[in-house]
Symmetry: C2
Subunit: 202 residues, 2 copies
Amino acid sequence: MRKIFIVRHANTKYNTEKRWQGRIDLDLDEMGKWMAKRVALRLSYENVDVIYSSPLKRARQTAEEVAKVHGLDVVIDDRLIEGELSLWEGMKADDVKVKFEKEYEEWAKNPRANIPGVENVESVYRRAVDFLESLDLERYNGIVVVTHAIVIRAIVCYVMKMPLESFREFLIGNASITTLVVHDNNWWRILNLNERGFLIGD
Amino acid sequence: MRKIFIVRHANTKYNTEKRWQGRIDLDLDEMGKWMAKRVALRLSYENVDVIYSSPLKRARQTAEEVAKVHGLDVVIDDRLIEGELSLWEGMKADDVKVKFEKEYEEWAKNPRANIPGVENVESVYRRAVDFLESLDLERYNGIVVVTHAIVIRAIVCYVMKMPLESFREFLIGNASITTLVVHDNNWWRILNLNERGFLIGD
């Protein structure tokens, strides 16, 4: 069965500190490097034919670990980049909710919010769906996609046929895997959401 | 954090043969007994204060394995019973799609379908939500609920705030765990959908 493994990048310093990251381009931190290796170990048990990644380093470095195990190169796709969130970048998530209370609530509730410095969710959704629809499912059986929280939330809404307004009703942790299956009639379904049980020590 | 672990019962002979079961009341088969023990092992790492089960034997027998580990009794709740599907009971799923093509498509597409011998999805949803809303979250931090595929699909639609029409856009395997978290402001979210990675041998 065709499977698409949607991986959220592992931790950077900002994730560990619970700061908004957007397009700030940090390396994985020590914990993140370890998590990326666990993702690669988990995916070593799967057939993987191609690996796509967001251009940001935290995604690429996670993807590289998976690629090494499978002897593949990482294909960068700009449509997988995280939302543009320059208004909040670097701030702690809890502080954003206080200092930008109105903007944050508007963004969280309205996928078409128009806030300077904050890409709205519908815009992320459009490029995520464009990417998914461009995948060559005749050619590839096992696809890995390393990307970001908001992009993954948009993908889940698309596959689940749920309104974009519900994009925060589930959790997507760092280094999690959300697995889609593609049935022969091109019916896409969620097999697994936010799998993280492999993030344990040896 | 409060967690609610929604467990689908382990396999019976009918699951193994891919037959519709509805309210036919079978025991777990040999594989099912093994799976129930794996569920119990997985949940032995969690705080569990109370265990609810559907009255059907396949759910109760799964719940009993979890209960043993935690020294708890199983609380039976009739609202957790599987949909009434007497029109299709005992038939292979593939045969239902051919012999009852019209009825099956109507049931799968319309949550308010009115087909004699097939409980519609909205009816299952109503009793599932009634059960969830009756849970005493002041008293319990870790809740296990052992129930059935259609009931779990309805619960996921409720928590995800997605239309009931999308109840088949994700998979819920036998002996899977779908975990909900309840935040302090009574916001329920999906932490994990269809977790099954623990169903591996020692």
